[in-house]
């Protein structure tokens, strides 16, 4: 970020970091780079988290507040007022894709800036159904299935039956249907149905889960496309919404059984290094073009991700749009450079453009170099359906290297009790290599150097997904 670009617009702003963990830390660091003061929040359970320690160390006076919940909008607004914040950064999760919250922030008596897309865009694209309709209207391919949330069991069964029959007609030997919580996101509340007779019980389970977790029992029913790659396109635009650029593609195909991403790679395919049964470069070009087309059509005005699935035949289908910064933005930033500025911090770009600065560069100014791999280190048991592990971390070490960036909220001083209220994510390890082979070798070396131990009250040793990550490193970008 050149200092010349961070002009007057950024002065006199103070940002409320309305999130926790590593994303809160990245936002605070980005604020530091841009010279913007911030205030942070934490709940009682998070008192020992790295983001609390960082806020205490770097935030200055009136920069850290204990709240009852990260989910309470009133709480956030009262802290923002008390700390005299002028903008709110929601991070990812919590309020990041809540258009009502974004609208409230920008429309209240003491108006603030919501650092994310404008609330109308979140409303339009944050809804999977609307996104699907918009995509279809623009000729963008989408996954076959329902294009509105289903609340009626009989109707749900009818749709599932049609999708099963469609797959049988297509000659698919093991047809599958996906049942998703309509209001869900990030892979939560999704189940597969193998047997049409099992549909009703799965539907009821997902519906009940959706009601408990998202207060909306609507579900989507879609064809489950097997044997696909999960790709993403990273879009950035400024408040004019007229000049979106992309920061390349990511491949997030290596997931846990709960459809949770575990390894992300940028770029999405490497046709120069690996052989594909289809024109991989054309697929990447197509999904970028489709994503930019949709972004332009809605006047997309901040950071967002278009999520795609690509079948073995090389057919892309749009899944959804995430109208927020994502966990994995760092791996795209790691391989990108803006001409004349050097490395990229997508969170700083989000803050800068969110506060009203123009983008200041064009697509031609963005260069990509090498391959980035991001490992999500999580306290979970891969042998037991990736069940979260609860307990204390007693040791967490790794060998530093210039090609490695570790993002973690686990404090240096251990032991650290993992709070049970949130995802059991421990760290993101971002590795860079000049090509896929080098990146994989470095990834394996990092995992070999990792020492992560702990135990819980019942004496059980910490379980993590490190071995799963290592086992799957060889699979990266192979279709």
């Amino acid at each position: 970020m050149s200092s010349a670009k961070t002009g007057n617009i950024l002065h006199n702003h103070k940002i409320l970091v309305a999130n926790r963990g590593e994303i809160a830390m990245r936002i605070m660091r980005a604020c530091g780079k841009l010279g913007i003061p911030f205030a942070a929040i934490h709940t009682a359970e998070d008192a020992a988290s790295g983001h609390v320690l960082l806020a205490r160390a770097k935030g200055g006076e009136k920069s850290l507040f204990r709240v009852s919940s990260y989910h309470d909008a009133n709480e956030l607004m009262s802290v923002a007022d008390e700390a005299a914040c002028t903008a709110v950064h929601p991070g990812y999760g919590f309020f990041a894709e809540d258009f009502r919250f974004a609208r409230r922030v920008t429309k209240r008596d003491r108006k603030m800036i919501f650092i994310g897309p404008s609330w109308k865009i979140i409303r339009e694209l944050g809804d999977k159904i609307n996104t699907k309709r918009l995509a279809r209207s623009l000729g963008v391919p989408t996954v076959p299935g329902s294009d509105r949330p289903i609340y009626d069991e009989m109707e749900a069964e009818r749709i599932a039956k049609t999708i099963f029959e469609f797959q049988e007609q297509q000659g698919i030997t093991h047809p599958l249907v996906l049942v998703k919580a309509s209001a869900g996101g990030g892979g939560m509340g999704i189940e597969e149905v193998y047997d049409p007779d099992q549909f009703r019980s799965v539907y009821r389970r997902v519906r009940n889960y959706a009601l408990r977790q998202f207060k909306d029992e609507g579900v989507l029913i879609e064809q489950r496309i097997m044997d696909f790659n999960h790709l993403e396109v990273q879009i950035v635009s400024d408040r004019t919404g007229s000049n979106p650029v992309h920061f390349g593609t990511r491949n997030c195909s290596i997931q846990s059984t709960g459809l949770q991403k575990r390894i992300e790679v940028a770029p999405g395919f490497t046709p120069q290094a690996l052989r594909y049964s289809f024109d991989a470069q054309k697929v990447l070009d197509d999904i970028v073009a489709y994503s930019l087309k949709m972004a332009r059509s809605v006047g997309y005005d901040n950071v967002g991700t278009w999520e795609w699935i690509v079948t073995r035949k090389g057919e892309p289908f749009l899944m959804e749009v995430n109208t927020r910064i994502q966990v994995e933005n760092g791996v795209s930033a790691r391989i990108a450079k803006i001409r004349g500025q050097g490395g990229v911090d997508l969170i700083a770009e989000q803050i800068r453009t969110g506060l009203g600065e123009p983008l200041g560069y064009r697509q031609d100014d963005i260069d990509f170099e090498g391959v980035g791999i991001e490992y999500r280190l999580i306290a979970e048991d891969p042998d037991s359906n990736f069940t979260p592990w609860v307990g204390r971390i007693e040791r967490f070490d790794w060998k530093d290297a210039p090609w490695l960036t570790m993002l973690t909220h686990v404090p240096d001083k251990l032991p650290y009790e993992i709070p049970t209220e949130f995802d059991p994510n421990l760290a993101l390890a971002i590795i860079h290599g000049k090509d896929i082979q080098e990146a994989k070798a470095r990834g394996a070396a990092f995992l070999d150097s990792l020492s992560l131990t702990g135990q819980n009250d019942s004496g059980a040793s910490l379980k993590s997904n490190a071995a799963f990550l290592k086992d799957n490193t060889e699979r990266i970008l192979l279709f």
């Binding site: 204990r66 709240v67 009262s78 008390e82 977790q213 709960g258 979260p388 609860v390 049970t420």
Partner: protein, 215 residues
Amino acid sequence: MIDISELLDAIKSSPYREIVVAAPHTGRMSFAALETGMCVHGPQGQWKEMPGTTLGTLEREGNPKPICAPENGEICRIHKELDGGFVEAGAPLVVLRHMLTRDEVQRIILQKTLYLFRAPERAKYYFTPETDKKIRATDAHSVTIRDGMELFIMSRMKREVPLHYAGPDGVIYEIYFKYNENLDAGAPLIGVCPRDHLHVIQDMIARVQTEWTET
């Protein structure tokens, strides 16, 4: 066999507990006219429809929220230094000394007599939809459970897993968790009473009702 007289004597030797009334959320705190030693009331009425004595007001986003005494008691400490200031969630505001009621004594004794099925881990717990329906339709006392039965959904870190009951067959006599509440590992979830012991429990309750005098 539990010696109920011994239990009652133990409770009588220290028949109160201290309650810390904390700020439920952030906001600007204004205390009511309170003095140390003053008696306050908790919520009253058949459905506790009358709130307890107002201890102060916590204002957030222009909405004043009355902070009321959660139980009857005597004020031991008032954090007057917070008056008029911005308080964080969880900040202690007032400390009350609450004399145990008959119902509370009964609950303490029940916890020692019933079979307690405890939370294996810190998490949120829900009954499975089938059990939930039965409890709503009748009441917990008429729901019979058996060892190995899938009884709860344990939700933690956004993941839900089924939890099977392990213990003696019987009826659910007490429910110790609330919807959407995070429980620590080891906290009791339900108290179970075998059907043929129900009369023993009823006798104990009758004894508490007659032997415990509320002050």
